[in-house]
Symmetry: none
Subunit: 212 residues, 2 copies
């Protein structure tokens, strides 16, 4: 039996195009399509589609809000965003909301069929520029890591890591198999190097600057 699909898209012309594009293959069946998301929850519950194609810019409830509503009760339906927006805000909000894929409309005719198969296989179809944005977003932390080098020794880093997880000096001593006085010594050197004067300052700095 074919994969069932529901489309949310306010542009009637595009809604038609998508439907006919997908009807070219027997594997997919567009069981319904809607111009807005005012009743998105009940529509999803009623039709139980395998895949949802979701526009972002729609009158009333936008596509990102709609994804949030769907994810409140359904974690399994595969949702592919289909939009013209390729800016950070829209992409990341859609991903945070729980979308599984993000396809720019300009690639739809070429890539939609592949994207649906991909998302059903457990992938996350993304237009190239979107994929690059996503991984650039992940890479930001490294730059920070790169320039905050406080010259901590290996042992001091271990100590700081354990401290940052909420361990007391006594617990750190037990886990590192050293005496509590040695832990003190390490901690004192860490304070000197990080220019802090207390546990919390050290932990706060360690976590915020991703030293751990």
């Amino acid at each position: 039996m074919p994969v069932t699909i529901i489309i949310f898209e306010d542009n009637a012309h595009l809604r038609e195009s998508l439907t006919s594009l997908l009807s070219l293959t027997d594997d997919y069946s567009v069981i319904n399509s809607f111009p807005d998301c005012s009743k998105v929850a009940e529509q999803i519950k009623r039709y139980q589609p395998d895949v949802v194609l979701m526009d972002i810019d729609m009158p009333g409830i936008n596509g990102i809000e709609a994804v949030k509503k769907i994810r409140e009760f359904d974690k399994k339906v595969q949702i592919i965003m289909l939009t013209v927006f390729d800016d950070n805000t829209h992409v990341f909000e859609a991903m945070y909301a729980g979308a599984n894929g993000y396809l720019l409309k300009k690639y739809v005719s070429d890539k939609l069929i592949d994207a649906i198969r991909d998302v059903l296989d457990g992938g996350a179809p993304m237009s190239p520029s979107i994929a690059r944005m996503v991984i650039s977003n992940m890479q930001q932390p490294i730059h920070k890591v790169a320039d905050n080098d406080y010259q901590l020794t290996a042992r001091e880093k271990e100590t700081l890591q354990l401290l940052s997880k909420g361990n007391s000096f006594k617990m750190i001593a037990a886990q590192l198999n050293i005496s509590i006085d040695t832990v003190r010594t390490h901690i004192k050197r860490i304070y000197d190097k990080l220019h802090v004067r207390s546990q919390i300052e050290a932990v706060s700095k360690a976590i915020n600057e991703r030293l751990v």
Copy 2:
């Protein structure tokens, strides 16, 4: 002129296969390949390739370390990881290190040519399961934010925020214009609500679960 490519891969057979696969098209030229990364920096500087194909599991310096070394001096060369590892740790470490794409070896014969074109077009080629891991990783934060409601009162949140910034009880008291004993009371209630028994545990939990 063709796209220049360098390959780092310890398996001689696979190194050959990749080279011959890429020689099928005139667009790509494998200008050199190496079985390890011991001289990765000077090799990249010397050959100035457009694209690097990088294995992860190699003797000596592994692929992720090699990516870090390359990114210290070259942010522009496009690096595609080519590995058998599809676990979180390897994927995210490679991305953090500065890889532009991540292809599982089982898809290499089908997807390598596309992936290289994709990465040169500003995309981020990823095998489907990798893409899904990356976006799942982005989606984690919301779930946390949603369910960590410890019912802190407004004053308790303020206190926790100040604590998390490295303030002592005394400093918090001064900033909130209350006595140090009141700060104690708030902190005790916070400990009860967060189920912790010390400053560092509270701060660690607060920062990690974004309560502040």
